[in-house]
Point group: C2
Chain length 119, copies 2
């Protein structure tokens, strides 16, 4: 069956949408990262969601999974070259999100953990 999107934004949202992907990708923009480190960095994510999302990102050609043949296992995830092009996108999203919070909740009624993470 031939897939057909309704518009180009649907495409991006399929790739970076959902509860976790953007946050995972954000950390990967800082360089290759091991599974356990990601688990620590992405606040609140479970093992299952992490590997699941990483697998999808890999299938989408944005992330590379590198396995070191060691015990205990060591696996490292890296942005592909094309994946790097997401940095710009993530930055725009981040900026708008930050501004929006200030606009809507000028008195800090709503906060953002890691609101200081730079992109």
């Amino acid at each position: 069956m031939q897939k057909q999107y309704n518009n180009r934004i649907e495409v991006v949202l399929e790739v970076i949408g959902g509860k976790w992907k953007a946050h995972i990708l954000y950390h990967l923009t800082r360089g290759p990262t091991r599974t356990g480190e990601l688990k620590r960095l992405v606040t609140g994510i479970t093992q299952k969601m992490l590997t699941e999302q990483l697998k999808e990102l890999e299938q989408d050609g944005l992330v590379v999974r590198k396995v070191y043949n060691q015990v205990p296992p060591k696996v490292e995830y890296t942005l592909t070259e094309y994946g790097q092009s997401l940095k710009e996108v993530l930055k725009v999203l981040c900026d708008w999100g930050g501004d929006y919070i200030k606009f809507r909740y000028p008195n800090g009624e709503v906060t953002v953990r890691n609101g200081n993470e730079e992109l």
Copy 2:
């Protein structure tokens, strides 16, 4: 209960995420639009999803609903001034989405309806 986001991207995704909002917003960037027109423009959306999503966008301060006291009813939706700031975001998303499709499916195995919509 105090809401707390994990990161700033979560904020944007809550506002423009989901299956329809981005597409609705895209059309609103072109100016005030009546309900029925939106229903026609946003391919495949149902009445229910349309009004539901518009209501949320209104609550989020991005869209204004203007009711004309007529029969049959006339309702017009417009981007708020702050909502205008989304144009830039939508453009970046659109561009990346378009490029990505070319990157992943260079032979047009996957297409985008309205892929020519400009932002």
